[in-house]
Chain length 100, copies 2
């Protein structure tokens, strides 16, 4: 890899692209201060009827077609989710909206 | 509302609950340093075939059935998303997994 920063983000494509959404959320029972803060703010804004709020992350990947489900699983376990306190869900999206 | 903190998170229910997922993502063209850092780390770990990464937020709400789509829209516009740089998508989930 060259030392250039900010160059050729799209240069690693291998064939047609596929869009993947990774949903990362805290496991049940894990304390969620961010979710609680959002809940509190919603109530402060006058919204009623909200029972619970959980905050998580959404990571949208644009990957080459050659990337397998096992690869995606490994990415999640190694980097995208902290498996001790978080769980993840992989959702494949047919059309690569990111590149549109 | 009483001044108690950490009490009765589930005390505001109005009828049966409904689970809602709000996906918040940066609008196209908005610089995403977090996504770029994830992309860089994936490459550092040896994962090839990743063309682009965008980072966003996932907010799971457990709301009463009486909460309308307009209410949810307003929550997103007022608090959950920064409409200047972010867009949101509301997804309703039938079963309230959060309360299971």
């Amino acid at each position: 890899m060259s030392g250039g920063i900010g160059t050729s983000i799209h240069a690693h494509a291998k064939g047609p692209a596929m869009k993947v959404r990774v949903h990362v959320s805290l496991k049940p029972g894990v304390l969620d201060p961010q979710g609680r803060a959002i809940h509190h703010s919603l109530e402060g804004l006058g919204f009623t009827g909200v029972n619970d709020v959980r905050a998580g992350r959404l990571i949208e990947l644009d990957v080459a077609d050659g990337v397998t489900d096992a690869d995606l699983d490994e990415m999640c376990r190694k980097l995208l989710a902290n498996m001790v306190i978080e769980s993840y869900r992989i959702e494949k999206v047919a059309a690569p909206e990111l590149k549109a």
